[in-house]
């Protein structure tokens, strides 16, 4: 016990020192200017590569694929230090989504080809699930791939693919058969290059004025037969595995939300209440704040329970849906409170000041800069990744059998 606790202290110091030294100002700026689930791309990937150089990029991966071999406690400490330092979270598409899927379903060849680039941050993978007419309803996918000789030909389109305009690789679900149940004819493809003829990527401007999501169009795009992860027509199995991996996630929403709440409380101590007092002293603010604090405490308790639960147990599906529902709704309420605390300065549109590295000072208080974009962008929190309505349907199905 003694030795171990000393080790953890030393480990924490080591992490802290590394971040201190390696996270340069533009990486930190990217952390500060996160306004959605996804941090600014360039700086985030640079941080990813720095972590990889130290062997720390793929914290929850097995050692054989480049993981650091940390204990659960170490991972928690690492995450905590990153959160405290405010460095950007690494993008999940590779490390948290397609990477684990490849480990579980990939051939040796696929593992060899793809996992190192994910761990190193050399590659960035876009996720192609949603389609214009199949949002939360993956079974009605229309993007299709036909086998022709030694390759597939893909036609159709994908939408809401985050950062596809930055990606060099993409994983996606395509229809490879119309037989059986709609879910049965779906395959999980790994596309190794996005510069293939017929593949077009168009960024979508979001409510905050920035592109984050993209439309991706496939017009007779040819890909080799070995791009299929798992068996052909069995992509649903892969996708389901990955969805569960994604939804429950290892990220602690509660810890992040707790920091957001702290920031709000700090600001409330600096801002007036319009009647000559300080907002922090306003019992109405206090009550509302504490309600959110309670929501976060309950979420934290649920996350702990979920972490201790066996994956694949009968309750783990509904529980991950419950986390998605409560976490995303709490997040939205937190962003709403933040907007009201900052007040009318949040109305200013500040595209330049929000651009990392642009060197443009914000109009109005620095702390108000990201508040409105966060509010706007997080309206998507209850839409993407299976809307909260869908999550409630899932739980209802479990409850009613």
């Amino acid at each position: 016990m003694e030795t171990k606790s000393v080790d953890l202290q030393a480990f924490r110091q080591e992490v802290r020192a590394f971040i201190e030294q390696e996270a340069d100002e533009s990486i930190r700026e990217a952390g500060r200017k996160m306004t959605s689930f996804f941090p600014p791309f360039e700086q985030c990937m640079r941080w990813h590569r720095k972590l990889h150089a130290r062997g720390w990029s793929a914290a929850s991966w097995p050692e054989q694929y480049g993981g650091p071999g940390w204990s659960r406690e170490q991972k928690r400490i690492f995450e905590e230090e990153c959160r405290i330092a405010g460095v950007p979270r690494l993008l999940p598409q590779g490390l948290g989504m397609v990477g684990p899927a490849i480990m579980k379903f990939g051939t040796d060849e696929q593992k060899r080809r793809f996992l190192p680039g994910i761990a190193s941050g050399e590659d960035f993978w876009a996720q192609g699930y949603s389609e214009p007419n199949a949002g939360s309803d993956l079974a009605s996918l229309a993007c299709r791939a036909e086998r022709r000789d030694d390759h597939y030909v893909i036609n159709g389109s994908k939408t809401w693919t985050t950062y596809a305009h930055h990606a060099n690789r993409m994983f996606l679900l395509v229809r490879t058969s119309n037989e059986g149940k709609p879910q049965q004819g779906i395959s999980f493809f790994l596309i190794d290059r996005l510069d293939r003829p017929g593949l077009e990527i168009r960024p979508i401007i979001g409510l905050d004025g920035f592109p984050e999501q993209c439309d991706v169009f496939f017009d007779n795009v040819e890909v080799p037969l070995d791009c299929c992860l798992g068996e052909e027509n069995q992509g649903w199995t892969v996708a389901k595995y990955l969805l569960e991996h994604e939804r429950g996630g290892s990220a602690s929403f509660a810890a992040t939300f707790g920091m957001e709440l702290n920031r709000i409380r700090e600001r409330a101590a600096e801002l007036g209440d319009g009647f000559g007092g300080i907002m922090r002293d306003d019992p109405v603010f206090q009550q509302r704040f504490t309600r959110l604090y309670l929501e976060v405490a309950a979420l934290d308790a649920t996350e702990s329970r979920f972490a201790a639960m066996e994956k694949g147990s009968p309750e783990s599906g509904p529980m991950s849906s419950m986390i998605k529902i409560t976490a995303m709704e709490t997040l939205q309420r937190i962003t709403e409170l933040a907007v009201e605390v900052e007040g009318s300065p949040t109305l200013t549109l500040q595209l330049a000041a929000l651009t990392v590295g642009a060197g443009v000072a914000p109009e109005g208080p620095e702390q108000a800069l990201t508040v409105m974009p966060k509010y706007l962008n997080n309206r998507a929190a209850t839409i993407f990744g299976g809307s909260n309505e869908i999550q409630r349907n899932i739980i209802a199905k479990m409850l009613l059998g």
Binding site: T290, R291, Y293, L294, A298, A301, P318, R392, A396, L400
Partner: protein, 372 residues
Amino acid sequence: MAFLNDETRVMLEDSVDKFLGAHYDFHQRRAWVEQEPGYNREHWQQFAELGWLGLPFAERHGGLGGDISDTLGLMRRFGSALVVEPYMSVVGLGGQAIALADNQDAADSLLPELVAGNAMPVLAWEESISRGNPEHLATSARRIDGGWRLEGEKVAVVGGDLASHFVVSAQAFEDDAGPVVELFLVHADELQVTGFPTMDGHRGARLTLAAVDVDDSRRLTRNGRGAEVLRQVLEQGIMMMAAEAVGAMQTLLRRTLDYTRTRRQFGVPIASFQVLQHRMVDMYIAMKNLEHLLEATASRWDQSPSHARDSALLKAQLCQSGRYVGQQAVQLHGGIGMTDELDVGHYFKRLTALGLLFGDESYHLKRAWAAL
């Protein structure tokens, strides 16, 4: 504290499930509630024989030395079965107050009697001005020769109608330093007890202390430790209430799921309406939120017995979850949920009472803010 070993724990849980399954019929419960003394006295003796009354107490007092999670497991089952015996009042509050206080003699003489099912000490702390705050009280204890004179009024004394003794909180004026909160032990026949049934099938009382004189041996705490003991007891009490509420909500949700699957309207089971489905999902979430928060609170309680914030948040969550689950269970049952005959309304009323006792949501959110 000596914890139960695994074997004892399993036996205990087993005995509770068996007993409640065999003896706790809702329709019989209505009869017990309507007759004196408002619960089943035989049950109480059986609770004693089964060791439940001694669950949290030390072995030298005849107890089992169980920890808080054992008590919570019991309370959850009690909540599920809508148990009306005053377990929380006597074991959780009155008994715990005596166990945590400073008067060993009192503990040594009274706790074994409690454990045996003979004595029923009940905590009397609430006053019309307190609204959840145990340190906001008007009852006074003034020095008289060899003892104390207590004056004041206590309200909403849960289980007070049935008590053999009361643990009474008072502002004690001992020296010139101003009053401090202390606890005193008073026999039920030494003060005026105005008993009444409560809307949730339990019993309550108002106590009038008009110059009640007690000697020094009845003083339970010293040096103003009454406030600290009250805090701990109420914090444990809130956990017990939360456990009971979780149990009640589990039953209510199950009832509601079953009812909506059977009840038909417009030619289909009403469980097929998406709006009702999502309502039940939100009931499930409300219940789980309380369950998980209780678990987290109890695990930290084991580590440190002072957690004002955790318990305030837990009570606020109990208010929210209990209200939502109770109200929606009635709503989804429709008219039948409004009747005395169906148990659903009784669960709803019990959840309502649990929400109101020991301070409401707004009070506890304030308390939590102050402790953030």
